[in-house]
């Protein structure tokens, strides 16, 4: 019995002493990766370059060296090497094949290469006859994974005759040499064993073991020569100089990077004016919490631009994101969410989910990048992963010399130019002309300095004229001087040019016991917002320990970061608070104050009494105030598995996250905030002002801590005695996420040296009494404030999320024929405030199986087995979740709760129990396996008849009986495999699952010199909500001695039901010089989780409700890569990568007609989720009124709800169905270059057309409004009327075909050139490698619309945002 040692990266059973290690270090000459060569070489076997020189070294040690340098695994038995001869040789950058040929020359053994493994076998004796010489030993390689795709480590792979046996390594891979014809058994605790007959030419086996709990007969065998799927696993070879954004762009079909801009508006902060704190800036979350009754409505209004009449938008200051530097957002197949926005994918780096998309994450530190699209995998990561995951794994420690790499990226982004004309914003002349007409046509306001507040300077001048407070001459002079002012140039002072630098230093090394990688990073970024900056210092450490003779495996990943950021003032052109004629600085460079929210005359009055100036200057405030955020983060994940005793393995995973945040809002005493606040708390007396708040700097500091941990642990025991085999496993875990933010005081009169504030004065005798402030100076006005409210700490918030889970499994096998197994999984969640302290979600399964005929019965039937079992799932009974905000009421010294939404209960005590009997028959010598089962399924709380929405549980209980079946086939020597299953989900929905794979190019009958690769795949995947929940629960169960991940999933709602069809064809032409990969997919997700909210009846008290819906996400991904030229000196590759994707809404509620923009884009059954509806525009009539064609095609200016509801027509989609990139890559000697064009095709966008009314519309098109008869021939902008913004007139003007236009564009996303330092130079510099690249981003674009508007910055309402800045950068990368 030959024992087979497996040498395979990254595990290594071969023991190398530290002495040997040192000697190897000396012996090895420096390793030079000939990068130029590698860039030009495809990933073909035996092309790695090897350099070493040895003198009289054993073959074994030479093989170790080869293994370390090539990364190939080596398989041999020790006996084989006994009689080998020592080697003396010297190699410098030799290909592997040449090295091996030299080393094995004249040896009694020979080798062959199978899938990156060097298999050493006895050299066949020359005098043997041909027949005997035929190698009877077959080397089988493969990978074992669970049905969910997670690799199984330590799975047993053995020949049934006992001739050989191995376990899988850390990657789940195995290599075994067994006689042809023997049966291989692959088994693993908690999984069904799988057997396969060994044949020659099996290729690589990819074995997915069926987990015991799943009823699907999902063992799926596929034989593929190449496992690396370029469409999922990104090829990083020779791409270390790129960043994450570049590597994703054009490597993964269907994945496109979308430029996100200002108009995909997200609110960064919202300022609220209140008498207590004046302008208080909050995050949107804080805002919604602080104003639970209407906070969300205010945010929605600002985002949509539609303000309800009751809302006064002037009392808010809203800031939107304008970060152009991180403008790329990955999007897979067009995100499959109803929200319809470019919701990015989840980025997971070393198992830690990250916020945002780090486009400039350097690839030099990355080991692998994987794109996860499989719904089965996505469901485990919770709702955030619904649009796909990008899994990045940083470099792991490697045995061998310590490698040090350094890279630096430098960026320069000039501030985007503020240009009123290009942004379609009105000029001074436009505004003044408009205000004047409005004044003539409508209300001629009068002005009273005492109580006319919130009036613009222009309106004030006109009012003063009507009030005879100024003469006509005086008015004319002032009006003319206003007309000469323009603040465009000065507004550019609110932005800055941005310089960024990112440094990264990585150190990688290790021995066979300990491997490590350390990556340190420093980045310093200034954004385009004035004074905005961000400094990050980070450390990423990966440690792998193999101790106790490899019985204890520990991997520990640590991420530490310190971030300090300062929020800058970001200009939002469509939401500027000042008029175009309001300057920031006067001719002497002094700040010019804006008194629009008060009035300058009133300001003079209060200043004469002793108050401070109440005026505002944006530039002064942006320069003086300082809002910083400091955070310290530590994330750690420890995984270990320990073989305590033979057969007993303990595994555990500990995830820990700690984050400390300090947010400082600092207001300088000269800022408008400080001045206004002090004034607010100033009480006027005959002899002066009594200020209750000390005048000085103000600091509002809040600290918060986020602690998260997740511990999971399990024991697995495996014992065989005689014919009995026992497998037991138990596991459990707990998770907790806690957020603490203590209440904080605001420090007034803040002294930065002592860190203290000055006291607040309180009124006497009653300290809680109100005072009247300066408004008392104005007749008919009044305002009260309460100084005592300033001395109450506010902002306290604590949140906790916890769960506990248990699982256990047991299996008993007798004589390998009779099996009894059971499994139990349970998750406990807190149910605070309920009678029971926690709720329990339970899953269990008991199964007995007998293999009736183990040996072939006749020439057709191989084996027969019968199985019976029970599968049960129990949901907890949770109450309806009313989403309520609880908030502090400072004045009332208590807390209030306000409900503002509710979601239906999805877990209300339902249960499903399936009792089944199955017969499994193996046919045709392992070619077919047929399984037929009889199932009796009892379901409580849900009905078997078509009630798919599961939003409410019924009391009903139903029993269904059905026959399930499954057929597996493995034909054409493993080139064709298929599996089809018919089953019912635990909810009682019929399901068909299936896969099909056919490798046509390898077929005997396939002869083509042209086509080198031809694969066809097919897939039908059905995952019901309960099965999705089951998959999520499965992450708590240890798989292969370790846990695949540890994220805190929530188990309170059901994941959506998924139905997925996919077909894929891969064609390689001329030795894969041209590769075409086309995939059609069609995925339907249904449920309330992938939900849309539809308007609710107002009498329900809610503005929206959650409805059951489903969405069909379908399209084609295509990926065409052409290596046009490929020589050692020069190569030119073009990749066309794109997708056609549509999201179609199905069974959504019919929207009721309302004359709102929301109705024009409401989800409609059978239409794209981003559909836009518009009226057929018929121009203006001769009075300047908008006209449309009604449903009969008649021109009409009569606008009423009946006409409008029937006249809307489909106008296109707002999200482009065609998206992709066109990437050119060139390499010439040591130079390389890359140009990426992205395109977006097939969408439309709106252009904002104002509807002139009393208020100035923020658009330069007001210049072209209808003024006199005849104008209708030239303009579409209606005449000024007294109709308000919510009128039919405004609705029609804003939503007609004349404003809908093509949003097609092609963007030159990036141009890069790079240069690798020549070897000689590098050597002279005592370096390993060095390269430099220069990049330019967003360099040019071509649009189809005639206004040259960049569709990416045009908002859904047609308003333009700030242009996307061009970015220039430079990177250096040095290997030490």
């Amino acid at each position: 019995m030959a024992s087979v040692a497996v040498l395979n990266p990254p595990t290594m059973n071969l023991k190398i002493t530290s002495r040997m290690w040192r000697r190897l270090c000396i012996v090895f000459t420096r390793v030079y990766l000939v990068l130029q060569l590698m860039l030009l070489m495809p990933d073909v076997t035996a092309q790695s370059s090897i350099s070493f020189s040895v003198n009289n070294a054993s073959l074994q040690s030479v093989l170790t060296t080869i293994k370390a340098q090539s990364g190939y695994g080596i398989v041999y038995t020790k006996e084989l090497l006994k009689n080998t001869r020592p080697i003396t040789a010297s190699f410098s950058n030799q290909p592997l094949s040449a090295v091996l040929a030299r080393c094995f020359d004249g040896q009694p053994v020979t080798y062959k290469i199978v899938d990156r493994n060097i298999i050493i076998t006895e050299r066949p004796k020359e005098n043997l006859s041909q027949q005997v010489a035929e190698d009877t030993t077959v080397v089988v390689t493969g990978q074992v994974s669970g049905a969910d795709g997670s690799v199984l480590i330590g799975a047993s792979v053995k020949a049934l005759d006992g001739s050989a046996g191995v376990t899988t390594n850390r990657d789940g891979r195995f290599v075994i040499a067994v006689p042809r014809g023997s049966i291989l058994s692959i088994s693993y605790v908690g999984f069904k064993p799988y057997k396969v007959k060994v044949q020659t030419n099996m290729g690589r086996l990819s074995i997915n073991l069926e987990q015991l709990e799943t009823t699907l007969g999902a063992v799926n065998i596929s034989n593929t020569a190449k496992v690396k799927d370029p469409t999922l696993q990104i090829d990083l070879t020779n791409r270390s100089y790129m960043n994450l954004g570049q590597i994703l762009q054009g490597t993964v079909p269907g994945l496109s990077l979308q430029t996100r801009s200002t108009t995909v508006r997200s609110i960064t902060s919202i300022g609220v004016y209140n008498p207590r704190l004046l302008w208080t800036f909050m995050t949107p979350e804080q805002f919604v919490k602080a104003y639970p009754t209407y906070g969300q409505l205010v945010l929605d209004a600002f985002l949509s631009g539609n303000f309800p009449t009751w809302m006064n938008k002037n009392i808010y200051q809203v800031r939107f994101t304008t970060r152009v530097s991180t403008s790329l957002v990955p999007e897979l197949r067009g995100s499959n969410s109803f929200a319809g926005n470019t919701d990015g994918m989840l980025i997971v780096i070393d198992g830690f989910p990250r916020e945002g998309f780090p486009a400039d994450f350097p690839m030099s530190n990355v080991e692998s990048v994987e794109v996860v699209k499989d719904p089965k995998e996505l469901v485990k990561w919770g709702a955030k992963a619904i649009n796909g995951i990008i899994m990045v794994r940083t470099k792991q420690g490697k045995i061998g010399e310590i490698h040090v790499n350094y890279s630096v990226n430098l960026y320069y982004t000039p501030a985007p130019k503020f240009n009123r004309e290009k942004l379609y914003l009105p000029s001074t002349g436009d505004v003044l002309d408009y205000v004047r007409q409005s004044d003539t046509l409508f209300n001629q306001n009068t002005y009273n300095p005492n109580n006319t507040f919130q009036i613009t300077p222009a309106a004030r001048l006109l009012s003063k004229l009507h009030n005879n407070m100024i003469t006509q001459e005086g008015f004319n002079a002032s009006w003319d001087s206003l007309g000469r002012l323009d603040n465009t140039a000065q507004l550019n002072m609110l932005q800055q040019n941005s310089f960024n630098q990112n440094h990264s230093l990585s150190v990688i090394g290790g021995t066979n016991k300990y491997k490590f990688s350390l990556i340190g990073g420093y980045s310093s970024n200034n954004d385009n917002a004035l004074n905005g900056s961000n400094r990050t210092v980070s450390l990423n450490a990966n440690n792998v320990l193999n101790l106790l003779h490899d019985d204890l495996n520990i991997s520990w990943t640590l991420y530490l970061a310190s971030v300090k950021s300062r929020a800058g003032y970001s200009v939002n052109p469509s939401n500027l608070t000042i008029q175009p004629y309001q300057m920031l600085l006067d001719n002497n460079g002094k700040y010019v104050y804006d008194y629009s929210s008060f009035n300058p005359d009133a300001n003079d009055i209060i200043m004469s009494k002793g108050y401070y100036n109440n005026g505002v200057n944006l530039l002064e405030d942006a320069r003086l105030n300082n809002s910083t955020d400091k955070s310290l983060q530590a994330q750690s994940r420890l995984n270990f598995s320990w073989k305590l005793l033979p057969g007993l393995q303990w595994s555990a995973s500990v995830l820990n996250t700690l984050q400390d945040n300090t947010t400082d809002l600092f207001y300088d005493k000269s800022s408008s905030y400080a001045r206004q606040l002090v004034n607010q708390y100033g009480q006027y007396y005959q002899n002066g002002v009594k200020f209750y708040v000390p005048y000085g700097d103000i600091l509002n500091r809040s600290k918060s801590t986020n602690k998260e941990w997740n511990v999971r642990s399990g024991l697995a025991y495996n014992k065989t005695f005689g014919r009995n085999e026992i497998e037991l496993s138990v596991g459990g875990g707990a998770a907790s996420v806690g957020y603490r933010r203590p209440g904080n005081y605001v420090l007034y009169g803040y002294n930065s040296t002592t860190g203290t504030g000055a006291p607040i004065y309180l009124p006497t005798p009653d300290p809680n009494a109100a005072i009247s402030n300066y408004y008392a100076l104005f007749a008919g006005q009044g305002a009260t404030v309460y100084p005592s409210s300033l001395v109450v700490p506010v902002n306290l918030e604590n949140t906790n999320s916890r769960n506990i889970n248990w699982n256990g499994a047991a299996k008993y096998t007798y004589n390998k024929r009779f099996t009894l197994s059971g499994r139990y999984t349970s998750v406990l969640n807190p149910s605070y405030g309920q009678i029971s302290k926690y709720s329990t979600l339970t899953n269990y399964n008991v199964e007995g199986s007998v293999e009736l005929f183990k040996e072939p019965v006749n020439k057709w039937i191989d084996d027969v087995a019968v199985t019976t079992g029970i599968l049960t799932m129990l949901m907890p009974d949770l109450p309806v979740n009313f989403a309520a905000s609880r908030y502090q009421q400072v004045y009332w010294d208590d807390y209030g709760i306000w409900v503002n939404g509710y979601s239906p209960t999805q877990q209300s005590g339902q249960s499903s129990r399936n009792i089944y009997q199955r017969v499994k028959v193996g046919l045709g010598r392992g070619r077919y396996e047929l399984s037929v089962g009889y199932n009796s399924q009892k379901m409580t709380g849900l009905s078997s008849t078509g009630n798919t929405d599961l939003t409410t549980a019924g009391d009903s209980s139903a029993v269904i009986h059905y026959v399930s079946a499954s057929l597996k086939a493995n034909l054409r020597k493993g080139l064709f495999s298929t599996m089809v299953t018919y089953n019912k989900s635990p909810e009682g929905q019929s399901q068909v699952n299936g896969v099909l794979k056919y490798n046509l190019a390898k077929e005997k009958y396939f002869h083509s010199n042209l086509i080198s690769t031809l694969d066809i795949d097919g897939l039908i995947q059905n995952i019901s909500s309960y099965q999705g929940l089951d998959l999520m629960m499965g992450t708590n169960v240890a798989g292969g001695g370790s846990y695949t991940m540890a994220t805190n999933s929530t188990f309170t709602t059901l994941p959506p039901r998924n139905l997925n069809y996919e077909t894929r064809v891969r064609i390689g032409i001329l030795h894969d010089q041209y590769m075409l990969d086309v995939r059609y997919y069609n995925r339907t997700s249904s449920g309330v989780n992938s939900s849309i909210s539809v308007a609710a009846d107002a009498s329900s008290g809610l503005s929206s409700q959650i409805a059951y819906s489903n969405i069909v996400n379908k399209g084609i991904e295509f990926f065409l890569k052409s290596d046009f030229v490929k020589t050692t000196k020069f190569s030119y590759t073009v990749t066309l990568n794109g997708a056609y994707n549509v999201n179609v809404a199905k069974s959504v509620p019919t929207p009721g007609f309302t004359a709102t923009d929301a109705y024009a884009t409401a989800y409609r059954d059978g239409y794209n989720t981003s559909n836009l509806w518009a009226f057929k525009w018929a121009g203006l009539d001769n009075k300047g009124n908008p006209q449309i064609y009604d449903k009969e095609g008649k021109k009409t200016a009569v606008l009423d709800s009946t006409t409008l509801a029937t006249s809307l027509t489909y106008a296109g989609v707002l999200r482009a169905p065609w998206n992709g990139g066109f990437i050119h890559e060139v390499a010439w000697g040591s130079f390389f270059g890359r140009a990426a064009l992205t395109f977006s095709w097939g969408a439309v966008m709106k252009r904002f057309i104002p509807t002139p009314s009393t208020d100035v519309a923020n658009s330069s098109l007001i210049r072209y409004r209808w003024k006199k008869e005849g104008d209708e021939l030239y303009t579409d902008v209606p005449a000024m009327t007294k109709d308000g913004s919510n009128s039919f007139r405004g609705f029609v003007t804003n939503n007609s075909m004349n404003s809908v236009m093509s949003a097609n564009f092609v963007r030159l996303q990036e141009v890069m050139i790079g240069w690798r330092f020549p070897q000689q130079l590098v050597k002279r510099m005592k370096l390993n490698s060095a390269l430099v690249t220069l990049q330019g981003q967003n360099l040019a674009m071509w649009t189809q619309n005639k206004y040259h508007m960049d569709p990416t910055v045009v908002g859904s309402n047609g308003v333009m945002g700030m242009p996307i800045a061009k970015q220039y950068s430079c990177s250096f990368m040095i290997g030490l």
Partner: protein, 458 residues
Amino acid sequence: MAMNKMICFLLMVIVFTGCEKFLDVNPSTQSVNPTTIADFQEMLNSDSLAIGNYMLSDLMSDDVRLPDVELSGQDNFYTRTYLWSNVIWNPADEDYMYSSSYSRILQMNIIMNRVGSAPQDSVNTVENRSNVISQALIQRSYYYLQLANIYGAGYNSATAATDLAVPLVLSPDASAKPSRATVKEVYDKVITDLRQAVNNPYLAGMGRNIIHPGKAAGYALLSRAYLYKAAYDSALLYADSSLALASSLMDISSDYSGPTQLIDLRTNPEILMAKVAYERNFYSLVNYSFQISSSLYSLLSYYDGRYNTRLNGYYYRTSTYNGATTLFSDFSVSVPEVMLTKAECLARKGDAAGAVTLVNTLAANRIRSYEEVTTSNADTALSYVLNERRRELFVHGGLRTFDLKRFNVNTNTQVTLTRQQDDSTVIATLPPLSGRYVMPFTQTVLANNSNMVQNVRQ
């Protein structure tokens, strides 16, 4: 073996009690799913319950006047309501009166729906539970009474069973799409609920603060509902019950500056249940406040505290709240209203002296150097009472409009209202019992509930 079993059992106990302790955490201090009595108490704490805005229904009454300059601006629902136009709402307008009333009713419905299944804890005592129920019922009744009077016809016993009011939503359901209940159904429910609320022996006369209603507020609303039904005996009875619990008045005849925000009412003894409005949008549209009508103006003397604190000449006074110029109105359920209800009932029953005494008591706290009125004639007494009622309850959550509606039910007290331009040209007329007394629903309300029937205005 027994030992092993024992150890196993102990281990299980430790593990499970540990679990219970570990999982027994409050998920969030800021985001909750209200289930406990303590949660319901905090729901009733919310000062949003005291903030609502029915100023639009005040604009419909004869207490208000918009000068030409305010009518010449943007065409909007304020001006159209004032002019009793057939169309009030622009197609995309949201009716804040309707949606905010129902969002408050939802809070109460959740409490009523869940209070029975609240877990037993230290806060869940009979006293606390019944007080939560009573307060929720009083708050809900308040909103239904407002809604019935704004969107339904005045209570007419002959037609109340067929006149449509608003949907009577009594439990939370986002997708129910209820039809409109009749005026009678709403009133019946309001009276039943209020009676249940005040029959609670634990409910104190006054709430913990002005946001929380006590028994006095419950009785006050009962007397208001019966007064609107013209059931004067019952109205009198409940007004008496209310006054027995709370009858203090605040002297505002001099040296009183008037409230500008809800918290300013904190120490006002007249407030039984605070309700205030912050109307900002009207001011931002026209840069003005509205005026009071000359008929109301003529009733207010220069020495009247209500003139000094609520008006600035003809204009309704503005104040500054949240940085915006605001029309603040206090329309709380209060002692003066109950006194006036009692006085009206007494006068209508012929007790002139009783009625006049109440009027004098109230006016003495309002008007500087007040000279008491006397009469033995019940009709004269009634006119004193109604004049005082107008002085006291103008811009008071629509009460004057509701009064006009109930006066119109009786043919003897019907009035025809007109709107005049600055030069006295009549631009609008509102005859008694006109359909234009009833507020229409917005397009959004109709679009989202197919069972809603629009109010016809012509």
